[in-house]
Amino acid sequence: MKKIINDPNLVVQDMLAGMVAAFPNDLKVVPNTTVVARKDAPVSNKVGLVSGGGSGHEPAHAGYVGQGMLDAAVAGEVFTSPTPDQVYEAIKAVDGGAGVFLVIKNYTGDVMNFEMAAEMAAAEGINVEQVVVNDDVAVEDSSFTTGRRGIAGTVFVHKIAGAKAEAGGSLEEVKAVAEKVVANVRSMGMALSPCTVPAAGEPSFVLADNEMEVGMGIHGEPGIARKEIATADEIAQELTQKVLDDIEFNSGDEVAVMVNGLGSTPEMELFIVNKKVHAMLADRGIKVYKTFVGEYMTSLEMAGCSVSLLKLDEELKELLDAESKAPAFRS
């Protein structure tokens, strides 16, 4: 393992301290927690937005804290859901009297820890609602099992629900628009090389030089197929087609595109993927309203990418365009 770290067991605390030092006017760490909050939290009479999850997905989630997006992000250990007491601290820190909204990625651990925190907050009289994001089409959609994972499409939920809350939306309205995003966003990823959790010291899986893994999870969960590495066009084709097949996209529809790097894939390669994604959408008469290319939801130093499509309507377009001052998503 070769990493620029100090103590492998202190990477989360060290990172949060460094992050807040970089944005001293915008962010703060809630004392004695792993919660990063807006400097001005709680904002009175605004719905507070809380998200979070395991660390190692930077800039998710703390990079999305800021005016117009999240009010707080809870950082767990690397790739491990944060504990209920930490989520509860975040809820308390952002409760401005209009209720608190939780954006949870669909993993068993995240859902359980956030729900326990929501129960603790409800017992204290705080109004809490939640949405569970499950955009990863690599996994079968089933309520019988664990269901689909939440991956890069979650960033659209942060942005749009955050804008709704900033505009004065009620808890119910924020929930409704978040559910609309979840219903209309789909993603799929692939990896060229694994990543190493600092405290584990070993890579999450092994890929030969000529191999890639399609449908990887962002915590190194194995994907759906391991094959010989293909060209960017073939990779983009496979990911985008799976996404397009999953919900109805019609000619004339408008979408937001996100081509997300997993940690060590250069922007050059992401742009090459994006070229093909745009060509495929143009072929089908689907209009690209906005494109995001870069690192939004990473897996430490994993190489690879994911493609997300969000089907837009007027409300979603307006909220996507609204101002955001979050360090990792300025608009």
Partner: protein, 206 residues
């Protein structure tokens, strides 16, 4: 026999020893069908739990279980934190009000723990989760009228081993569907350590 305060303290310490010794093994099992953190999560949680129980003094088993529950809940995270935390919290409630714990009470505690795990995780026996160890252990306890260390150890062990041939329905391993077959469930292995440690404590206490 009945479980006394000292037995419960020894139980937690022995469990911690087994988990620390097998930390890398548990993580390796989780790397195969999950995300590779189960050993780290359990080692962090039980280290803290032992830190708490060895620095406090107790007059009831219930209080020990409660401290263990709270520590696991606030230190583990992931899926296993809320589940083990809930299990110990439910056991604590079930054995409350007694200085020492009879076999009957303990059995009730395990039953409540399982109900709590099901309520949180919505899994059932056979889904390739730690319930696949807890549930057979409960059935064995219900069939007997006193603690029997050997059958506890054997039941937990064979239940743990049988998770290998099962397809995961809940938890991260469920993403793999058929490909989860052939691998042990990491949570079931840590639950085996828990019950195997209890069996050792019972043997010493006889």
């Amino acid at each position: 026999m009945e479980l006394q305060v000292q037995h419960a303290l020894n139980w937690i310490e022995k469990t911690n020893e087994k988990i620390q010794t097998n930390k890398d093994y548990l993580s390796a099992l989780d790397r195969a069908i999950g995300d590779g953190d189960h050993g780290l999560n359990m080692a962090r949680g039980f280290q803290e739990a032992v830190g708490k129980t060895t620095s406090s003094s107790y007059t009831s088993v219930s209080d020990i279980f409660k401290d263990v529950a709270m520590t696991l809940m606030s230190k583990v995270g992931g899926a296993s934190g809320p589940l083990y935390g809930t299990a110990f919290l439910k056991m604590s409630m079930a054995v409350k009000g007694e200085d020492s714990v009879s076999h009957e009470r303990f059995t009730k505690g395990v039953e409540e723990a399982i109900n709590g795990i099901i309520q949180r995780g919505k899994a059932k026996e056979g889904d390739k989760t730690l319930l696949d160890v807890w549930t057979p252990v409960l059935r064995m306890l219900q069939e007997q009228s006193d603690f029997e260390a050997d059958s506890l150890e054997n039941t937990a062990k064979s239940a743990m081993e049988s998770t290998k041939d099962v397809m995961a329905i809940k938890g991260r391993a469920a993403y793999l569907k058929e490909r989860s077959i052939g691998h042990l469930d990491p949570g079931s292995v840590s639950s085996y350590y828990l019950f195997a440690s209890l069996a050792e404590v019972l043997k010493e206490g006889e």
